[in-house]
Subunit: 218 residues, 2 copies
DNA sequence: CAGTGTGAAGTTGTTCACAGCA
DNA sequence: TGCTGTGAACAACTTCACACTG
């Protein structure tokens, strides 16, 4: 290793760790609200059903270190997690497909406190165009070009029907979006540098039904 | 191993495999609609961005076997996957919390073709009680006891706000529900025999924001 | 040969074991 | 003693290598 380099080696954070971070933050904010000063990894583990060592290792990624016998300072962890998750920056997003799921996402309170701001929604359905959903304007899909061009949006959310999803993704890529949050149940083909996060509600349902079946068979 | 036993040894299907199953089914139904007869694992892999061996191993869990050089029979795979996922049986569910997310889930077309039937919704908000969402009646939460008692529902969906989630879960457990699909961002405490599937929208957002951050830092 | 099927190797994430500390 | 922190053992899943088949 180069001893002259002062760069901190940022080894990638394991994805499961990243996925647990919001849960930690949620719980820790609760503790902060209740004026708790310190929290230990075993306690977090008990509440969130996680192995204590897991919690310790996850916390290490935030850069916060704890005190033996005492635990971690709650406020310090909250701040570190908010920074880690980017909740103190604002991430602007466009949403395409203002159907039930799209509307639900727009109206979802929680996003506001997590730094995600849905700036505008788009749809091809003329009935939806022109209305506001929780203060977010719905434009006709054709406007997407103009607006995406002018504003500099980094996240595109696809809640359009499956057959339209690829087309929407192409447009998003063309207009400089850097990450796509895809709720349509189809795999998207995009250039390598585009981040795609698929969120398939079906996958979770499948897990439930499968477990139910297994229990019935025993 | 006991040679007298005729029971088939059902080794548990890895969860990642279960999660991929709906995606396979989706794609295969598409092929069936387009009258395709055969499909090979490498092709599936190319379309769904999966390793061909992965696909082969996943398909093995459905019980279907393919022909070398030819692939799998599409209709056979579709049927096997529908059976595997329990899409041909009907699973009835109660949903508690008829807010934006709850309404979106109720109105989500896709569930109907996946064997999930949301039979009734419950809310404490008097404004929501009495209305129908896509044909699903919304009752006051107090009715939950009566109805859950009479009908024999196996799945409970929690789309209630976080502070109410545990209380809702307790009620569901008390009235004999066997699996809980939890959308509230809190860990539920339930007896061991209850299946809990947490679906935290935040986790997916966290992954996106984290990847965006990493790219910015490079 | 281009596919299926499967045991072995590799990789990633989790759990264990224990040193260090107050 | 009960915590943090970390290297080692373990488990789960994925990818590789290759025998087998029409």
């Amino acid at each position: 290793m180069n001893p002259i380099s002062t760069e901190k080696i940022v080894q990638p954070v394991p994805e499961p760790t990243v996925r647990r971070m919001p849960t930690y933050l949620n719980y820790l904010r609760d503790l902060a609200k209740r004026q708790e000063q310190f929290i230990t990894a075993p306690t977090i583990g008990r509440v969130l059903h996680l192995d204590p060592t897991q919690v310790v290792k996850d916390m290490a990624f935030t850069g916060v270190s704890g005190r033996p016998r005492v635990g971690y300072l709650v406020t310090e962890l909250v701040a570190a997690l908010e920074d880690f998750l980017g909740y103190n920056r604002t991430h602007e997003a466009f949403l395409v497909g203002a159907g039930f799921l799209g509307s639900a996402l727009i109206q979802y309170q929680g996003f506001r406190e997590s730094g995600l701001r849905i700036v505008a929604a788009f749809d091809i359905d003329k009935k939806k165009v022109g209305i506001d959903i929780a203060g977010v304007p719905v434009f006709h899909f054709e406007k997407f070009r103009d607006l995406a061009n002018r504003l500099h949006i980094s996240i595109g959310i696809i809640t359009a029907p499956a057959p339209a999803a690829q087309q929407v993704a192409d447009l998003m890529v063309g207009w400089g979006i850097r990450a796509i949050w895809n709720f349509a149940p189809v795999p998207l083909v995009v250039p390598d540098h585009i981040i795609v996060q698929d969120t398939h509600i079906y996958a979770n349902l499948a897990v439930i039904l499968n477990k139910l079946k297994n229990i019935n068979e025993i």
